[in-house]
């Protein structure tokens, strides 16, 4: 909680950032972090699946494999999200 200890947020005439601004900033930073982590996962998964023996350049079959792989990984993530949601709805 370091970012908050130095200057406590206040409204009105105070000089600290409003909590709304802080929340917005945090949201944006979190979204960026989530996206970066997802990207890194997709990179490593698709490299493993599509580039088994790296050559001097990416072949056309490798690059089309990567395109398909990205789409399928997004789909697989949606499946996981769906089942996680379902688990929450169960008593």
């Amino acid at each position: 909680m370091d970012p908050f200890s130095s200057s406590s947020p206040s409204t009105g005439s105070g000089s600290g950032p409003s909590s709304e601004a802080l929340m917005g900033q945090l949201k944006a930073q979190l979204a960026q972090a989530y996206a970066e982590e997802f990207l890194e996962t997709v990179r490593s998964k698709c490299f493993g699946k599509c580039v088994s023996k790296p050559g001097t350049s990416l072949s056309s079959s490798e690059s089309s494999c990567v395109s398909r792989c990205v789409e399928r990984y997004i789909e697989a993530t949606e499946t996981s999200k769906f089942h996680k949601k379902c688990a929450y709805l169960q008593p």
């Binding site: 909590s19 996962t41 398909r68 789409e71 697989a76 499946t79 089942h83």
Partner: protein, 74 residues
């Protein structure tokens, strides 16, 4: 005062979201490795689809068992 309460609530929500997002990420990674054994096609095969579904559901079942076991320790 009201301000910090609002922030606390927000942080609590984001913490929850982060935990869910982490679990979804782990689950997807594990099930991908288990179920997608060939190079990805333009569509999942029916066996891949059912494997992904079963894998997600069983992972969640398993998590429940483990969580219960650890709750009983506290």
């Amino acid at each position: 005062m009201e301000n910090s309460e609002e922030l606390q609530r927000f942080l609590e929500q984001e913490k929850q979201k982060a935990m869910i997002s982490e679990m979804v990420g782990k689950l997807t990674s594990l099930c991908w490795d288990k179920c997608i054994t060939s190079t990805p096609g333009s569509k999942f095969s029916s066996s891949e689809t059912s494997c992904l579904t079963n894998c997600a559901q069983r992972y969640i079942d398993m998590s429940m068992i483990i969580m219960k076991r650890f709750e009983s320790m506290q």
